[in-house]
């Protein structure tokens, strides 16, 4: 039975002729755009995560605070992984070694504590808690780069989603028309089958399988340039700016391409399957 269904599907695809190429080309374009947006988003997510993971924040204290006691309090806070205490006198001494400064010049540097939290999720809550403590002049961390990456990622996702939705709609329409052509060419055959008591699913099945075939082929074609681009990007990045990139990124890149392929496959099946279902519901009378 399964063999018959596959045989019927193959015949339907053969009957579709060049319209198959049109559907597959457009579906591939949709999946390519969708996959590119996904890939870049995943990459930016990882970079953003790695930056956050590696980031410390610095606390600047007023002169009337005992830095050692303050450091002990910080050290006891949950999620604080590591602290580094920099006494203002020692820092001023080091500073004066590198620059010629008048002896009468008062030390302007505050006592400083560099803090590192165990997980990035706790960074903001720890900073908020520290900010409320007495004697804190300022806290410094680097949200700028992260903010830019996140904003860029959101923008890219928005534009990518817009284009992908538009193309997905076009694909649904074209798939539906291709299936309509197949139904029209099989009209006599379908009528014979249904009047001979053949089950509904046997008649609809090959048309739905045809949609799945489009999705499998389109997602497989789409993953090839995505994988090439992906490899090229990471190799170039490692060779040129590898020293400033967070560690652990190459491992991410190899594992995620397969995940992107699965997502594209499911997206393709949803898009072309919708076209098939729409067409069979509209044009196939059983």
């Amino acid at each position: 039975m399964a063999y018959r269904m596959i045989y019927e599907t193959a015949q339907d695809i053969w009957r579709g002729g060049w319209s198959n190429c049109v559907v597959i080309s457009i579906l591939t374009s949709v999946l390519l755009i969708f996959g590119f947006v996904l890939q870049v988003s995943f990459g930016l997510n990882v970079i953003s995560q790695k930056l956050t993971d590696q980031m410390e924040f610095s606390i600047y204290l007023s002169g009337d605070v005992d830095i050692k006691n303050f450091a002990l309090k910080i050290g006891k806070m949950p999620y604080v992984n590591r602290i580094e205490v920099i006494d203002k006198d020692i820092a001023w001494h080091e500073f004066k070694k590198n620059f010629t400064i008048d002896e009468d010049f008062q030390n302007p540097l505050p006592d400083t504590i560099h803090v590192r939290v165990s997980r990035s999720d706790y960074l903001k809550s720890t900073i908020t808690a520290v900010r409320k403590m007495q004697g804190v002049i300022d806290i410094n961390y680097a949200p700028g780069v992260l903010g830019f990456i996140n904003k860029f990622r959101n923008f890219l996702q928005l534009i990518g989603a817009g284009i992908a939705i538009l193309l997905a709609f076009v694909t649904v329409v074209i798939t539906a028309n291709t299936i309509h052509l197949v139904i029209h060419s099989r009209q006599n055959e379908i009528e014979v089958l249904r009047l001979m008591g053949v089950d509904d699913w046997y008649i609809r099945g090959p048309l739905i399988l045809q949609g799945i075939f489009y999705a499998v082929l389109a997602s497989t074609i789409a993953i090839v340039p995505l994988f090439t681009l992906h490899t090229f990007f990471w190799e170039t990045a490692q060779n040129s700016i590898g020293s400033v990139l967070p560690t652990g990124l190459p491992q991410y890149s190899a594992s995620n391409i397969l995940r992107i392929y699965y997502i594209l496959l499911v997206a393709g099946i949803i898009v072309s399957g919708s076209g098939c279902i729409w067409s069979t519901r509209k044009y196939l009378k059983i």
């Binding site: 018959r4 014979v192 009047l195 001979m196 053949v198 089950d199």
Partner: protein
């Protein structure tokens, strides 16, 4: 076997059938006759559940097909064979494949299909044309392939809607005799036709319809006598 009780069918305010009632028993052969638009084909379509009556009841093998859910329609149709005026053969399939096609689609075993198809082609005397495509067959042979396809599932009811509409008188006679032979094997046969000459020669039950109403129902009647 078949029972219509006060059946009325209206298409867009046009009454195709008007309070029609009749019964055909198991093993009987009956001819539905009448001019075009009399309602013959509408009755056929009601029997194989292509249409539902506007009012009344249609029973086939004690099942009220007018209330049959869509999911059960294929099962009903597997218990009956349908013969069409235009044969409805698939041009890219041989006689054997045309007859076997619905059996493959219901998942029947390949050996069983082979046995059944050869049996059906034997009944219609076309075993020597099993590998021929429809285009190389005459009109009568095409209709015989259509009949073989209709009986291949061993139905208890055979419905033939104008089976000789596209055939010459000699070939039409062959088809009518073939339908009679199938009836003699125990299958109930109902034929919608306006072929007066054939119906007169058969001397079987004739139900005469005009303007959607039964005007006569005679056990061994003739078409001519009804008009």
């Amino acid at each position: 076997m078949i029972q219509l009780i006060n059946v009325t069918k209206i298409y867009n305010e046009l009454k195709a059938l008007d309070d029609v009632s009749f019964e055909i028993t198991q093993g009987e052969i009956a001819f539905l006759v009448g001019p075009s638009g009399a309602g013959k084909s509408t009755i056929m379509r009601l029997l194989y559940r292509e249409e539902k009556p506007t009012s009344g009841q249609v029973f086939v093998s004690n099942v009220d097909v007018s209330r049959l859910p869509n999911s059960q329609t294929p099962l009903l149709r597997r218990r009956m064979g349908i013969v069409f005026q235009d044969f409805k053969l698939l041009p890219n399939k041989t006689s054997y494949e045309n007859v076997a096609y619905p059996l493959y689609a219901i998942g029947m075993d390949r050996n069983e299909i082979k046995k059944r198809v050869h049996g059906a082609l034997k009944v219609v005397s076309l075993t020597n044309k099993a590998n021929d495509f429809p285009k190389s067959l005459s009109g009568g042979e095409r209709q015989r392939v259509g009949i073989a396809r209709a009986i291949v599932q061993g139905p208890s009811l055979l419905i033939a809607d104008e089976p000789t509409g596209n055939l010459d008188p000699v070939t039409s006679m062959e088809i009518f005799q073939l339908l009679e032979r199938i009836n003699q094997r125990g299958t109930t046969v109902i034929v919608a036709t306006h072929n007066q000459q054939m119906v007169d020669q058969m001397r079987k039950r004739v139900i005469n319809l005009i303007n959607g109403r039964i005007i006569s129902d005679v056990k061994t009647g003739t078409y001519t006598a009804q008009i």
